[in-house]
């Protein structure tokens, strides 16, 4: 079992996300993370799915995803073939903001993106390992809330989706 990133290039069609996730659920495979967004081309959406599975299974999943009528193309990549990032937000009580925490923020290249009377919100962008590390540390600072996005990723190879969208 390995971690794979699946890219799905689709028409912007109601229900398409549901059709895609059904392919995972019917096999009892958990989606680790999923993000959907517009692509560079108008009307075309891209969905990025992170999944842990064997390559054989991933290939079958990709084939079945590509079979969906409104899916234009689907690919799978191992981690070293993609550039990816995740964003994490941490909500911490203002009372905990001291010199120690400031040092941690600097060390992790995190930043404060909101400051309210009772709490501050830190933001860190990076790989899951990095955001998780900060999470463990901040738990000792009475962390109030934590949220992490799914993976956004681009492939390293120089193939663009234009050739599939004709």
């Amino acid at each position: 079992m390995k971690r794979y990133t699946i890219f799905v290039i689709t028409e912007n069609f109601i229900g398409i996300l549901n059709r895609i996730t059904i392919i995972f659920t019917r096999r009892g495979i958990n989606i680790d993370a999923l993000t959907a967004s517009e692509s560079r081309l108008p009307g075309i959406h891209r969905i990025t799915i992170e999944v842990t599975a064997t390559e054989e299974t991933v290939i079958q999943l990709v084939n079945q995803i590509e079979k969906i009528i409104d899916v234009i193309k689907a690919f799978h990549h191992e981690d070293d073939a993609v550039v990816y990032q995740e964003i994490a937000l941490y909500k911490i009580p203002v009372a905990k903001l001291d010199g120690g925490l400031e040092k941690i923020i600097r060390q992790h290249n995190a930043r404060i993106i909101a400051a309210e009377k009772e709490f501050v919100v830190l933001e860190l962008t990076g790989h899951k390992e990095q955001t998780r590390e900060l999470l463990e540390i901040l738990k000792e600072y009475d962390l109030l809330e934590f949220a992490r996005s799914g993976r956004v990723a681009v492939a390293k190879r120089m193939l663009t989706i234009d050739s599939f969208v004709k």
């Binding site: 689709t10 028409e11 109601i14 229900g15 549901n18 059709r19 059904i22 019917r26 290939i59 079958q60 084939n63 079945q64 590509e66 079979k67 009528i69 409104d70 899916v71 234009i72 969208v165 004709k166």
Partner: protein, 564 residues
């Protein structure tokens, strides 16, 4: 303005007519009433068959589609009408049957409010359709229907569901019907790679014991002639899957039998002795392969398949040939050497003889008093027309009928293969018959399955569709009972049935009926049935505890196929 515009409901019916739909199987209700109102005006251009249940409507549409090669059309209302279609959708998806099902839906402003007979049929049918869509605006109706027909019939065929809100049916819009010719996310033509053909031909030309397995893909791809030419030239023995039966006449000298759990002895056993396995338009269903870890491991596998998701799904292909088998088969025929494989085919014939002695003898010419299913089908076989369609339900009778029916023509096999839907046969036979009244349609059912959709006798009565129903009654859910006998210490848990008087039921529907319980009179009864003008119901009381053999038990390898 309104005068020049067309009502949504009329657009629906006009769109169906534009797609050359000849017949609709359906059931009215609140949310689809505007469309039924429109249908009233078009009864000369398009026929409608009122079934007795929406499940009957969709199975009938499936039966129609399977024998005609056209798209089956089904109409139902929202809520329960729509949910009653689900089994048929799942069945059509797994058996690649082209359908367009139109369901009514509550008005758009009521969506999501738990309105009367509102159900999220688009959500529910998503895993059971090739494509589905909800239409909320009148201007979207015609494009959705055009796209739906295109998707249903192209590529690997499948069912489409179009859910149309009531307001879209009652609103007025412009009717400019334009058929769908394709769109960018859906590739229907996959050019066959020449290198794949060359690799395949090389393997075949070097093979000593090549072996062809063909499935319904040959029928769906209209590649029956191409398959025959390929076999004629290459001399390779060929076996059919359940749904592939009929794609090649059983009289063809290379035809060696049927594959699968209850298929023939030789084709299963010798799968593990061939050196090159050529699979054509089939998907290596588990009922065909048995234990995959011990399936054809000695062989190089060539897989001719249109659906990319089927390649390497169950069996790894050494040479995948992606594309339409009509194209790939003729390309391959050009590249393979003309050969004969008499000795290798002889091996099949030897094992066939073993099966005849060990199984068929008992099935066709039993020594016991009780009638066997096999002898009934054998008699049907003697008197049926060459192009007779055999429609079967699911269970022992299905396997026996398939085993002993002699398929000579394509599109003569209608059964629920992938899903195994009990209750499929009676409505599917009705649908098959509606395509062509002059063709013989024999519907073989068990006493379990027929009671799941027995209400469709009413539709047969009303349409006078001359379906010949052969009920093989053993007062058991026979296949389950067989498994209980073999694998569950004869603990016959809830498989015995107290049955009604089926003859009285048939007669209550005004259908000519006869019951046969002894060998004397069987032949005459079958002859009577087949020459009868109109629908006929023949009940044959068969041996209560008879088993279907050969059999590959679950988890066993194809080479462990048992004769008893």
């Amino acid at each position: 303005m309104k005068g020049t515009m067309t009502r949504g409901a009329d657009i629906i019916v006009q769109s169906l007519i534009a797609e050359q739909a000849e017949i609709i199987f359906g059931y009215p209700g609140g949310a689809i009433m505007p469309t039924y109102d429109a249908l009233y005006d078009y009864h000369e251009q398009i026929k409608h068959v009122l079934t007795r249940h929406e499940q009957g409507a969709i199975h009938a549409a499936q039966g129609y589609a399977r024998v005609s090669g056209k798209v089956g059309v089904c109409l139902a209302t929202s809520g329960p009408g729509a949910t009653n279609l689900i089994t048929g959708l799942a069945d059509a998806l797994i058996d690649s049957t082209p359908l367009v099902c139109i369901t009514g839906q509550v008005a758009a402003h009521l969506l999501g409010t738990d309105a009367f007979q509102e159900t999220d049929v688009v959500g529910m049918s998503m895993p059971g359709t090739k494509w589905n869509i909800q239409v909320q605006r009148v201007e979207d109706i015609a494009p959705a229907i055009a796209k739906g027909f295109f998707i249903a019939r192209s590529g690997r065929p499948g069912p489409v569901l179009i859910d149309i809100t009531k307001n879209a049916q009652t609103d007025f819009g412009e009717m400019n019907y334009a058929p769908c010719l394709g769109f960018r996310s859906y590739k229907t033509h996959i050019p066959v790679e020449k290198t794949a053909i060359q690799q395949a031909a090389e393997l075949i030309n070097q093979a000593e014991r090549p072996y062809v397995l063909f499935g319904q893909g040959v029928v769906l791809g209209k590649a029956e002639a191409e398959l025959k030419f390929f076999l004629d030239k290459s001399g390779i023995p060929a076996a059919s899957t359940l749904l592939g039966s009929g794609a090649l006449s059983q009289d063809h000298p290379n035809y060696v039998g049927k594959l699968g759990m209850h298929g023939n002895y030789a084709p299963n056993l010798l799968t593990n002795q061939c050196d090159v396995l050529i699979a054509v338009g089939m998907r290596f269903d588990d009922r065909v392969t048995g234990d995959l870890k011990r399936y054809a491991k000695q062989a190089k596998v060539i897989h001719l398949e249109l659906d990319a998701a089927e390649i390497n799904k169950n069996v790894k292909a050494d040479v995948p040939v992606h594309g339409d088998c009509k194209e790939s088969l003729s390309m391959l025929t050009a590249e393979v050497e003309a050969k004969t494989h008499d000795e290798w085919i002889g091996k099949f014939r030897d094992l066939e003889k073993m099966e005849k002695d060990a199984v068929m003898q008992h099935d066709i010419t039993p020594t016991k008093n009780g009638l066997t299913m096999g002898e009934v089908i054998n008699q049907v076989n003697q008197y049926k027309a060459d192009d007779a369609v055999l429609v079967t339900d699911v269970g022992q009778h299905q396997m026996i009928a398939w085993r002993y029916f002699n398929y000579k023509k394509t599109r003569t096999q209608v059964t629920s293969g992938g899903l195994g839907t009990m209750g499929f046969a009676l409505p599917a036979a009705l649908g098959a018959q509606m395509y062509d009244y002059s063709r013989q349609v024999v519907c073989v059912v068990g006493d379990g399955g027929i009671q799941m959709t027995i209400q469709e006798l009413g539709t047969i009565m009303q349409t006078k569709a001359p379906v010949k129903v052969v009920l093989l009654n053993n007062n058991y859910l026979g296949m389950v009972r067989q498994w209980q006998q073999m694998f569950f210490d004869k603990r016959y848990s809830f498989t015995e049935l107290d049955n009604p008087d089926f003859i009285k039921i048939a007669e209550a529907y005004g259908i000519a009926a006869q019951k046969v319980s002894a060998r004397e009179g069987l032949k005459e009864a079958i002859e009577d049935m087949l020459i009868h003008d109109g629908p006929y119901f023949l009940e044959v009381v068969v041996e209560k505890e008879d088993n279907v053999f050969p059999m590959i038990a679950t988890g066993c390898s194809v080479e462990e196929v048992r004769l008893s």
